[in-house]
Symmetry: C2
Subunit: 415 residues, 2 copies
């Protein structure tokens, strides 16, 4: 018997039929003797419908009141799920974020969880009751309703699992696990049985949209065993999904490269011939940050004769605005021979915990891309990732070539 937290995403509870299916899976786990805490999202489309109502009233809705509206989506789902389970003859009880309670700070629309009161849930679980907690929401110290921001239900589930010291936190979504890359691009893409937290973080931030990044960090910090599973399979299915583990636990079986991530939401901006002096990066990126534009990759080459080239990427939606900001600041906070940009780029990343101890992986990546004549425009590396920026039109080709080069379609260790 284990204590399991199960999180169901919006599409998993997107209709009456799907809610019934989720209830059947919960009933199966309950029958098998597990204690269950279930965290559903709002029904698919519901949060967008609610936010659209608010946006129709004003472009900048009061954040406290926006949370009052947005939190209702999950409240409907917990009630409907509890109704389904009780109608099946099971004991089930729903809790809003305020009822549990999930205490957060007062940063409306993007609150952070501070504490969870596990007492009422423990009492219910001991009693054989299935506990259903609204994801995405909490309450601040003054009793105001807060929400955690988009994808916050993942964070809710992980925080509940941490508070209850659960044996496992299962994230149900519309895919049955984490893949070596997107199967729509590489049909041979393989579901990973395990992946480390750090790899998952790199994959998530690089565009594999399976889990919200914050929830993965949270799970790592509090040592929560996280598993990604599909809610679209038969409720009796015992497919194991993908288990997200700590490196230390399973290094023996760990592949060097776990996957290929990619992202076509970015645009590149380069400043040619800027002064190679202390403070130049701040002079360029300070105004960008002040304009509330997020920067992803940053690359600065070694300068020659007192000048250097400085490049970075931003979200494609912010591309024009970022260029405007820089052209406005040019010759004020910095000098540059030329500011150029390209919004038809893509980023491709090779991610693997094994990079730490294996050399030659970058060379292998560059060789594979060169073999197809794909020019690399920017390179950025971390402990467990090599990311390159290429022309967008080569994206699918690059992913397929790299997947093959690293033999990701095969199980087990490769080099």
């Amino acid at each position: 018997m284990a204590l399991i937290v199960q999180k169901y995403g919006g599409t998993s509870v997107g209709s009456i039929e799907r809610i019934r299916n989720v209830a059947k899976r919960i009933a199966r786990y309950h029958r098998e003797g597990h204690q269950l805490v279930v965290v559903p999202s709002a029904m698919a489309g519901e949060t967008n419908r609610l936010l659209a109502l608010a946006k129709e009233l004003t472009t900048e809705p009061n954040p406290r009141e926006l949370d009052v509206v947005a939190a209702t989506g999950e409240q409907v789902t917990i009630g409907l799920l509890a109704i389904t389970l009780t109608a099946m003859g099971l004991k089930a009880k729903s809790y809003t974020g305020g009822q549990v309670q999930v205490l957060t700070d007062s940063a409306f629309t993007k609150a952070r969880i501070l504490n969870i009161d596990e007492t009422p849930m423990r009492r219910d679980l001991a009693d054989g009751t299935i506990v259903i907690v609204a994801g995405f929401q909490g309450v601040d110290v003054d009793g105001n309703i807060t929400t955690l921001g988009r994808g916050g239900s993942d964070t809710s589930a992980v925080a509940l699992a941490a508070a209850l010291n659960a044996d496992e936190c299962q994230i149900y979504t519309d895919v049955d696990g984490v893949y070596t890359t997107d199967p729509r691009i590489v049909p041979e893409a393989r579901r990973l049985d395990t992946i480390t937290f750090e790899e998952m973080l790199e994959l998530a931030s690089q565009g594999s949209k399976v889990l919200q990044i914050r929830s993965v960090e949270f799970a790592g910090k509090y040592n929560v065993k996280l598993r990604v599973l599909s809610s679209f399979e038969d409720p009796e299915s015992t497919s194991p999904g993908t288990l997200i583990t700590y490196e230390e636990d399973e290094t023996m079986e760990q592949a060097i490269i776990s996957g290929i991530a990619f992202n076509r939401d970015e645009a590149k901006i380069s400043l040619m011939g800027v002064d190679d002096r202390p403070g130049i990066a701040y002079a360029i990126l300070g105004p960008i940050a002040a304009a509330n534009i997020d920067v992803d990759m940053i690359v600065q080459n070694i300068g020659a004769s007192g000048h250097t080239d400085f490049s970075f990427t931003v979200n494609r939606n912010e591309y024009k605005r970022a260029l405007d900001v820089l052209n406005g600041e040019k010759d004020k906070t910095f000098h540059a021979r030329e500011i150029i940009g390209d919004n038809r780029i893509a980023k491709v990343s090779v991610v693997g915990i094994g990079m730490r101890s294996h050399v030659g992986l970058a060379a292998k990546m560059f060789k594979a891309l060169a073999g197809e004549g794909i020019n690399i425009q920017m390179i950025s590396t971390s402990e467990i990732k090599i990311a390159v920026v290429i022309d967008e039109k080569y994206l699918e080709l690059a992913v397929r070539v790299l997947h093959k080069a690293f033999e990701l379609e095969k199980n087990g260790e490769v080099a």
Copy 2:
């Protein structure tokens, strides 16, 4: 400067445009220097949509969880209204029933209000903040979400007005007050400037669906000044609507008859030749009550030679079931020569506080109906009401004839 509680019904907040209109009216009262507590219902159709989702899952949803779902309708409206007011530059703050808090008993789906904590509202009002409280909902002593049942937002508003000792409780709806009768049937029907609580109770229970009965009782009990107004008029309109008063306050101006109510939702059942003995009414109506069928009018004639006739009315939807119950019990708990019924009847009532002190009103009513050849099938009277059952086909004719006979189109006292 007054403290005013304003309640807005579902159609009054049924769209973004209507919410804007409501906000404009609130802003006007705020500008005039009044302190405001606003109680909106769910957007029209929303509560039905939520209940339909639950009913799709099971015919008998768990009541606690049904309330969790149903309470979201009002939560959305308070947030949207607060967003609109803050976008207009006003200070506004929303409260759910649990946040205020509105303490109720634990009778889910039909809870009763026990207490309201006025402290946070007082603080906000003193600060110039417009307070917006979700109608229809509360919280029990264990923190469970409860709802007050259909039309409960009226009750919420009256209870808030009582707790805050408000100067007035304004009920905004899609009509601009209480009329002498339905203007669709009698074009000369006149809006009443005032009506007593007791008359309002009779009119409401007789089918004038302006206010929920429970809220009127509540207002009477706690001495709350209630006014019915239209939210569909221009926000700057100063139409006074209909003020609901205490008899004692304004007897001088009180008309003897205030209105004609009617109802075509009923059916009549008569048991002919039953024993005229103690306990016979219970023998007949006991099984009806056990089958959970509500009875409205009950008439028993004086018996002759040890037998009597016994008649009562039930909701038309329950007509067949009531007949089945009686035929099943006949010759067991009671004897009857014959059980007959009619589901093509209508009830017409003349209501007026002046009946207490004026005689001859019944005769006047019966004469008016006789003049049109309308046969009276049943008669039932209370202190301030005379109700008759007639053939349904004469309903409109009867209402028009009575409206004219009592000169209700004219202002002031008549006899």
